[in-house]
Symmetry: C2
DNA sequence: ACCTGAACACCGTTCAAGT
DNA sequence: ACCTGAACACCGTTCAAGT
C-alpha cells in the first residue's frame, strides 16, 4: 500500500528526479535514526548532492517532512473518518489517538513540528496537519454529542494531547508516553458519567 | 525572599565574581525572553566577557540553568512537602502540579531540559530534578493510599505530565497547556470512585 | 531546468597564551 | 586563579556561475 518514497508532483528532468528521490531516501533514514532535526547538510552529503540541490527541491525542512509524511498524514485523517463508525464514540476516538501517536513517533521531534505547523499557515505541513485536526474534530464532536467526553473538549485538545504524549515518549520512554496518553484520554471523559456504557440503540453508529 | 542572582558556592576573586554575576543576569533575561536554548556565545557577549569565561564558570548549559533555577526547584520540592498537609490528597497533588508547571514555564524549552536531567546522572540539574521528583512521589503515594488516584500512578507519571503540559503550552498557548494538565490530572484519578469526596475523618491530614 | 560549490553569518567547545 | 580570543569543526541559507 505504501509506495516507498512519494512521487514528486510534476514531471522532472531525469537527473533532478534521481536527486529528489535520493534526498528523500536519505532524509527518511536519517530522520528515523536521529530525529527530524538532523542536519540537512549531512543529508545532502549522504545523498551525494550539493547542499544547494537540497534547497532547490525542498526549500525548507518542513517541505521535506511534508514530502515524507504528507500521504501518511492524510491516511491518518482517513482512518479517523472510518473510526466514526465505531460503535463506541469514545473508543473510536481513543483508538484514533493511539494511531495518531504512533504516526507522530516515527521521527523524534516530529510532535514539535506538527504542533508548530498546525498554527502556521505558511508551513508546508499546514494542510496535512489541518486534515488531521479536522478528523479529530469529527471524532471529538461525536463523543461530545454522545456525552462520552466533557462538553468543553476540543479538537486542539486532542491534537495537543497526542503530540505532547509523543514528546514525553521521546524524552523518557515510549511506555511513559503511552501512559500519558492513557491518562489524558481518560481525563477527557465526561466527569458526570463514570463509565459511559450507555443503552446503545441496537444498531450501528448513525449520527450524521 | 529571592536574592536575585544566586551566590557562587565558594569565595572568588573580585573580577571573577563580577563576571559570574553578569553572566547569570544576562542568561536569566535572555532565557526568559528567548528560551533556554538561547545562544551561549551571545550571552557572553551581552555580559561583556569572552566566551571562554562563560565556559570557565559554567562548563555546560545545564550548569547555567542549575545556577539560575536550583534554589527555585528546591523551593518547589519544599512546597510539595507542605502540601502533604492538605486535607485532600488529590487537591494537594493537583495544586502542586500546577505550581510545578508554573515553574517550568519560566523559560521556553525548560521542560525538555528537566525531562532529560532527571534521567541523566551526570547533569548538573539532576539533583534538583530528583528532589522535585521525590516531592511528587510523596504526594502521589498519599493520594494513592487514599484511593484518590489509580493504584498504578507513579511519580514519573506526574513529572512527565507536568513537563509535557508545559511543553504543549509553549507550542501553542499557555491556556492549552493548562487544559492539558487539567485533563491529565483528572485522568490520574481512580476510575473506581467517581469523585472521591470521602467521609473525611474530621481532623487533619495524618497518614505518615 | 537544474546543479554546483563557495560565501556569509552564525553556532558550541577547547585551549594556548596571557595577567 | 582567572581571563582572553583565536582555533576547530560544525550549522542553515543564499546565490553567482556553470551545464
Amino acid at each position: 500500500m505504501e509506495t516507498g518514497t512519494p512521487a514528486p508532483r510534476r514531471r522532472m528532468r531525469a537527473d533532478a528526479r534521481r536527486n529528489y528521490e535520493r534526498l528523500l531516501t536519505e532524509a527518511a533514514s536519517a530522520f528515523a535514526e536521529h530525529g527530524a532535526d538532523f542536519s540537512l547538510e549531512e543529508i545532502a552529503r549522504r545523498a551525494g548532492v550539493a547542499n544547494g540541490t537540497l534547497y532547490g527541491h525542498f526549500p525548507t525542512r518542513r517541505a521535506l517532512l511534508e514530502a515524507l509524511l504528507g500521504d501518511r498524514m492524510r491516511a491518518l485523517a482517513a482512518t479517523g473518518e472510518e473510526l466514526l463508525a465505531d460503535p463506541s464514540p469514545f473508543d473510536g476516538l481513543a483508538a484514533w489517538a493511539r494511531t495518531a501517536m504512533a504516526h507522530t513517533t516515527v521521527y523524534r521531534g516530529l510532535g514539535a513540528a506538527l504542533m508548530e505547523a498546525v498554527e502556521d499557515e505558511t508551513s508546508e505541513l499546514h494542510t496535512a496537519c489541518k486534515a488531521v485536526l479536522a478528523a479529530g474534530e469529527e471524532l471529538v464532536a461525536r463523543a461530545r454529542a454522545a456525552g462520552e467526553v466533557r462538553t468543553d473538549v476540543t479538537a486542539p485538545d486532542l491534537y495537543a494531547l497526542v503530540n505532547a504524549a509523543a514528546w514525553a515518549g521521546e524524552q523518557s520512554s515510549a511506555a511513559q508516553g503511552e501512559r500519558l496518553l492513557t491518562f489524558g484520554l481518560d481525563g477527557l471523559r465526561s466527569s458526570a458519567t463514570t463509565r459511559p456504557v450507555a443503552p446503545r440503540p441496537a444498531g450501528g453508529a448513525g449520527l450524521a
